[in-house]
Subunit: 293 residues, 2 copies
């Protein structure tokens, strides 16, 4: 049977449309238009692309946005002062500091300096702690995006066995918390596997829902997946490919071609989880405005 | 084969002795003697017993302690003011507000009002978030106590399958985070099961380490446990028993008599996890002093 393709592109577009409508409504009522700021330190190519994408998405949905560009030579103290300025600026509802930062800056220190009320990346310990407690909070973009994908396709989760591959702070670990909690999506039996796991295949084959975030291209093969499973691929890797105009192609953590025929649902790379992260950021920014009131 | 009994009584006594030695050392150097405060609202019998136990433990290890007794009619605003007084009091290194609080008080609001630097119960979102990020922090007493038990008996965890039964905010959920992280104890493949889990037995039988915190007396039977497993029982239930002078006996979530013969290690009830919670609180209070410097 052909699997249903879980299209992050489609879901993220729908979410952006919904947000744009909500912004129109806010405007018509004379309310505060959400305003996202992004701090970019230096001019790393990928970071510039990401930040520009975020600014463009703000324009599309009608948010205000501010891009704060800073020299890569900025000191930690100076960057902390910039963060504090954004914390104090009532016009800014939420902001992000684009990662990675230059090596002389302690990234965790910067994250913790952000006012939790404006932490739309959801990386502040306060946000993660509230998530663990099931309180309203900013969810980290990737896990949040995945729950939105599951919701959009109405994929059943209650009582299902969800196996999360990877235990990173920004994907695997929060993902496991979200899938176990008493909510939809959620109420799964959740297993977290990682580099130290023994009998990996034996466990992944139990998964009704397999969420793959291990950062190894094409790692998941068809023998690791149960018939009828839902597979969500978080990986994204640039692989050199002379046959492409760009000189590369994008691959996920999953061998899509051989895994897809076994699946009920599967997310592709590109066009799967990737586009969801900006949609999550926009949703968090809108939430920041709502939680203020 | 006889299983090894994981005695929380023994481990907690050892920890208290170590802390007492450290306090002696601090005193000999003219340092700050750790000072724990406990807030008790009303006179619920169990709460009085718990709080007195905490104060007594402070005395034993040489900590200073303060018991703040408040009337059950206290308003939320007044209690928040008491919390703020303790936040501001430099003499107090850490404090707890004994749960449960009267119904007219929002317990979560009180928890969040505690200065995270003094949150020795580890229930503040900031503490849980830091735990998720693997940062130095106050761990919630029960999961912290269980990791100390595993450490004391040198029970191998890396690559083992740990099944956590229960997903509460103060036990199951943080326990799963601790067992998965890259540390000892930790580096387990971790599965969280709960009331919505299907094929429960099939999953618990995979556990090398089974941590049971579901609050159902005698729920875990021998057919749910793998030969050679380590079983940690968090449950504690008072069951009426006329043959006892007290009129009751204590039972755990595990049918000890039939499960024990299959185990490599098993914790009893009473004398298992129970005594560890106060030891954790003392460790957190000592940590509060250390993190201050």
């Amino acid at each position: 049977m052909e699997p249903i393709i879980v299209s992050g592109k489609e879901v993220s577009n729908k979410i952006k449309d919904e947000i744009a409508q909500e912004v129109e409504l806010i405007k018509s009522k004379g309310g505060k238009v959400p305003h996202l700021a992004a701090v970019l330190v230096g001019d790393d190519g990928a970071s510039v692309t990401y930040v520009n994408g975020k600014v463009k998405a703000c324009e599309r949905v009608g948010f205000h946005s501010t891009l704060v560009k800073l020299e890569p030579t900025i000191t930690e103290e100076e960057l902390l002062a910039e963060v504090e300025k954004l914390n104090q600026n009532d016009e800014i509802d939420g902001f992000i500091v684009q990662s990675p930062l230059p090596k002389h800056i302690d990234e965790q220190k910067i994250t913790e300096a952000i006012d939790p009320k404006k932490d739309v990346d959801g990386f502040h310990p306060m946000s993660l702690g509230k998530m663990m407690l099931g309180l309203p909070c900013f969810l980290p973009a990737t896990p949040f995006g995945i729950t939105e994908m599951l919701r959009h396709y109405d994929i059943p989760t209650e009582g299902k066995h969800c196996v999360v591959m990877g235990r990173s702070h920004i994907v695997g670990s929060p993902m496991s918390v979200l899938m176990v909690r008493n909510a939809y999506p959620g109420n799964c039996t959740v297993t977290v596997v990682h580099s130290r796991t023994q009998n990996l295949k034996e466990i992944t084959r139990q998964a009704d829902i397999l969420i793959v975030a291990i950062g190894k291209p094409q790692f998941v093969t068809s023998d690791m997946v149960k018939e009828g499973a839902t597979v969500i691929d978080v990986g994204i890797h640039r692989i050199a490919d002379d046959s492409k105009k760009s000189g590369f192609r994008l691959l996920g953590d999953v061998k899509f071609d051989e895994v897809a025929p076994k699946c009920a649902y599967i997310s592709p790379v590109p066009g799967g989880v990737g586009p969801m992260t900006i949609a999550s950021l926009l949703k968090n920014t809108l939430l920041a405005v709502k939680l203020k009131n």
